[in-house]
Amino acid sequence: MKSDDIGFPEPADDGSPVDIQALGRGIHEVLILAVLRGGPGHGYQIALDVEDRTGGVFVFQHGTLYPILHRLEKAGRITGSWDPVEGRRRKIYKLTPAGRRHLELEGGRIEAAFRVLHRVLGGET
């Protein structure tokens, strides 16, 4: 498995090894994109939604959210804009069509990687 420009794992169908670190980053990216598929959100809302939807299995701690959000924004997979709320400006993120395509593609790839992992852990051959 090789990585694309933002370190996301490519499919394992060529038999090459999985980059575990890239897979970890990729999971976080897919989680953020999946949350934003439901509508635009502020950073803190995304963090809370990911935690809620995964039952606390995936939690963005120590600001891990921001490098991922900014990387996705730079890659054009989400757009950030400043939203005036009660006299303050808050940054709100929105999924782009490129982000939606990425989510569908990479979500499938991660599922495939986890099926392989599950098979191994389950002792299947």
Binding site: H62, Y66, K91
Partner: protein, 250 residues
């Protein structure tokens, strides 16, 4: 003031991002921390616990700061990553020498075309050299402001621009006065040559003062562009850190 001022100011000291990304990131983080704490209070957490949890979840640690710095590394720095620090500095100095050389070549060609180099004021050369340094300082300031987004660098080059602009004007006016006294003393010895002497003085020193005024104006424009960039960054950071409320669009 919010409950996160101390943490945000500490983060601002440690966060090495180019402007304006740095100020925007601080502002984003501030609003998210406040909103997160408010949302957690709405879920039943008491004030202190909501604040601590918001900080644990959102405040970037050293690794996350480094990751943010990698994401926002300016294109120029990514391009020159292959060079050592010493090599990069050498490259930057070479670029400044090229800028100064091109300016001097263009300036001399223009003065020559205008026939202002046939009998120039001896003060023209130091003024030209100072004006070349203004161009170098201007290029440095704009590079720091718009390519690297480094506020320390902007301050440094902006200070140099003020000093060089003042030195250029002072040299030119001192030169013009010295030339004038030279002409006056020659006329005192030979009053019959007053017209050609005066015309020659006017031509020489008009060129001298024109070069100096143009260079000082350029220094002023470079200074203004850099100052606006610094002011925008400082205003945005002040808003992010709670000193004031941002009134302009980010």
């Amino acid at each position: 003031m919010s409950g996160f001022d101390v943490e945000l100011r500490r983060l601002a000291e440690e966060l090495e991002l180019p402007e304006p990304v740095r100020s925007r990131t601080l502002l984003e983080l501030r609003s998210d921390l406040e909103s997160m704490a408010s949302a957690l209070r709405g879920r039943g957490l008491e004030e202190g616990e909501a604040r601590r949890r918001a900080l644990t979840l959102l405040l970037p640690g050293p690794e996350e700061r480094a990751a943010l710095e990698r994401v926002h590394r300016p294109l120029y720095q990514r391009l020159v990553d292959r060079f050592s620090v010493k090599g990069r500095h050498r490259l930057e100095r070479l670029a400044l020498v090229v800028v100064a050389s091109l300016y001097l070549a263009g300036g001399l060609a223009t003065l020559s075309r205008l026939d202002l180099l046939s009998s120039p004021s001896p003060w023209l050369w130091p003024v030209l050299a100072l004006s070349a340094l203004i161009v170098v300082a201007g290029a440095g300031a704009l590079f720091q402001a718009f390519v690297l987004g480094a506020r320390d660098g902007m301050h440094r080059w902006r200070g140099a621009l003020v000093a060089l602009g003042a030195a250029t004007l002072a040299s030119a006016f001192a030169g013009a006065m010295a030339d004038f006294y030279g002409v006056a003393s020659r006329l005192a010895l030979n009053a019959g040559r007053s017209l050609p002497e005066l015309v020659g003085w006017l031509q020489r020193d008009a060129a001298l003062l024109s070069v100096a005024l143009l260079a000082a104006s350029a220094a002023g424009l470079f200074w203004l562009a850099t100052s606006i960039r610094i002011a925008v960054a400082e205003q945005a950071e002040a808003a992010a850190l709670g000193f004031t409320i941002a009134r302009r669009d980010l």
